[in-house]
Amino acid sequence: MSAASDLTAQRLIICVGPGGVGKTTIAAALALEAALSGRAVDVMTIDPSPRLLDILGLQVRPARPHDIPLAALHPRRGGRLRALRLDPKRMFDRLIEHYAPSAAARDAILGNRIYRGLSRALAGVADYMAAEQLLDLRREATSDLIVLDTPPARGAIEFLDAPGRMLDLLSSPALALLGVSRQMAGSLRIFDFAARAVLAAFDRLTGLRLLSDVQAFVRSFEGMYEGFAQRAAQVQAMIREPTCTLVLITSAEQQRVEQTRDFVSSLKRLGLRPGALIVNRVMKPLPDLEEIRRARLPAPLKRKLERNFADFSALRAREGAWLQPLRELIDGVPMLMATDLGDEPDNLKDLVRIARSLRVAD
């Protein structure tokens, strides 16, 4: 049994971790391994590298999960893998289309300059949309396992927090005061005036002409709040179900290890604990130095081989020193190592190799 099989027996795997560690690769590898073992799996990726897009057949951004042909890899009966690439902007548009009270309100929001900026720029929108997509997949109930890759986060577990923050934003007095007639706006009209004055001054100075756009945007969101609140609560409940596992992914590099420390503490703040820590791209164990000493080789070549061994040993020692604080950090959480293949995965077989290289750290 591979070290991955404990994980892939879950219903939902959420992969979190710093950017640039191969999070999407690991998510895809775990999903593929589960599919080969006979489960029906959906994997949802956010920002795959071009090569991974190729492997998963996602170059064209299909709106629906699409099947990846696995026959050549001989999956067990019932095994299938579908992949989906999240498009936060489009997902946000779909939500607006769904919840907008009228066609006019819908068009007003979709065409609004502030909305277009918000749906791209505001931290958390991609995270929130990932959660929305997850709810959609869940509702379909056609898979045994969903593997979710989350947007790169900067240290906090932004994805897990996203529904809450989205609610904060939409219900914020600041937005309400700008022109929405929510309950409180009447009593606080004076601040409304202040906010308008600030924006008007900013417009005059910068030449941006924002005020009318902001007012239109906020007004058009009226009536959509309830829908968002409901969905946010569902997502919060889902990530706390026992069949959901958080997998924290990192790589054996100094900075990533520091960022991982931040991740673990923000998980703690949310009352969550990772089901596993996967360290990606760990060096293979080194051969025995004695082999060189025993071998019948010319002395100069032996010296070179010894020097080469010493060089790689130094790198491995460096890696070990970086990983040490991680072991202490996640006391009790299984730590799995994925071996460095020397290059990025090129095809499905490479992904299988990655999943099967996972071993419990000694």
Partner: protein, 309 residues
């Protein structure tokens, strides 16, 4: 190519951006006052150098090397304070939550203010004959950051922002003021991505000073006849071949970059069990050697040219 007053270091995650930025800042601090700044508040290169930045974001680390952490919030504040001359009004703007949301949502405003800050850093560096080195986000983010001025000019067809956007555009295309280094390790796909980034920077964004940094290039330890002799030591041979493959890949990458017309800066693989200040100093020394060699070539070229006349 002589170095511009401000060099921005980018590359994909794990390609050695921060170590390159730290090493370059060390090397430049021997020539003039140098500012090393990051845009993500992680202070990674400062940590590698063994220096921490204080709460206020500033610390004079060494006589000739100063550290900065640039944040969108601070840039917005200083921008507002600059354009709004009356403090009571600028303070009220900055305290307004609404204003915070709107500016965060406004496409590219934060990125743009960051670029405006880089322009100022370059101006300041030029004025004191010094340098600035920016430890920037990964390549995708940087392309987005550097292409933001067009959007700002569309959004604000006139007024302060429009004027600033034009000034920033000029700055990005001024090879004496602004340059970008793209870091990559000798891995097939990493090289491919770096080539694309470099081409985008030069051809789409019109940035005139772009260079490729090949990080972690191993020295060739074995001769070509050695590998056949170690067949009995399969695992050790694998390590030897791994080293050979990486070094060959670096050589291929080098000629690929050069054929496409990009300058290449090669930094050696350091086989050390630690990676901290002493290692950055080794890399800084390597950068210094490259710069001296470049100068020599240039002066040779110059003298040939003179003789030719």
């Amino acid at each position: 190519m002589p170095l511009p007053h401000l060099t921005l270091i980018t590359g994909k995650g794990g390609s050695g951006k921060s170590s390159t930025a730290g090493a370059l800042a060390l090397a430049l601090s021997n020539r003039g006052k140098t500012v090393l700044a990051d845009l993500d508040q992680r202070q990674t290169s400062a940590q590698l150098l063994g220096i921490r930045i204080d709460e206020r974001g500033n610390l004079s680390a060494m006589e000739n090397l100063q550290l900065r952490s640039l944040t969108p919030r601070n840039e917005l504040e200083s921008f507002i304070e600059r354009i709004v001359k009356i403090r009571a009004i600028s303070r009220r703007m900055l305290r307004s939550h609404t204003f915070g949301y709107v500016t965060a949502a406004l496409p590219g405003l934060e990125a743009f203010l960051m670029l405006e800050r880089l322009r100022q850093l370059a101006d300041e560096a030029a004025a004191r004959d010094g340098f600035a080195v920016i430890d920037a986000p990964a390549s995708g983010g940087v392309l987005e950051l550097l292409s933001v001025t067009g959007g700002v000019r569309d959004l604000a067809p006139s007024g302060t922002l429009n004027r600033l956007a034009r000034a920033v555009d000029d700055f990005l295309r001024n090879s004496g003021r602004f340059g970008v280094w793209v870091t990559a390790r000798p891995e097939r796909l990493a090289i491919h991505e770096a080539s694309e980034t470099l081409a985008n920077l030069r051809d789409k964004l019109g940035i005139r000073h772009v260079a490729a940094v090949l990080n972690g290039v191993p020295d060739q330890l074995f001769s070509s006849t050695d590998y056949a002799k170690m067949l009995g030591l399969a695992e050790h041979r694998r390590l030897a071949l791994q080293r050979k493959a990486t070094s060959e890949l670096a050589a291929r990458a080098r000629s690929q970059f050069e054929e496409a017309g990009f300058e290449v800066i090669e930094l050696p693989m350091l086989y050390t069990s630690e990676f901290a200040r002493p290692q950055l100093e080794m890399l800084a020394a390597a950068l210094d050697r490259l710069a001296r060699r470049d100068n020599k070539e240039r002066s040779n070229l110059h003298s040939k040219h003179v003789r030719g006349k």
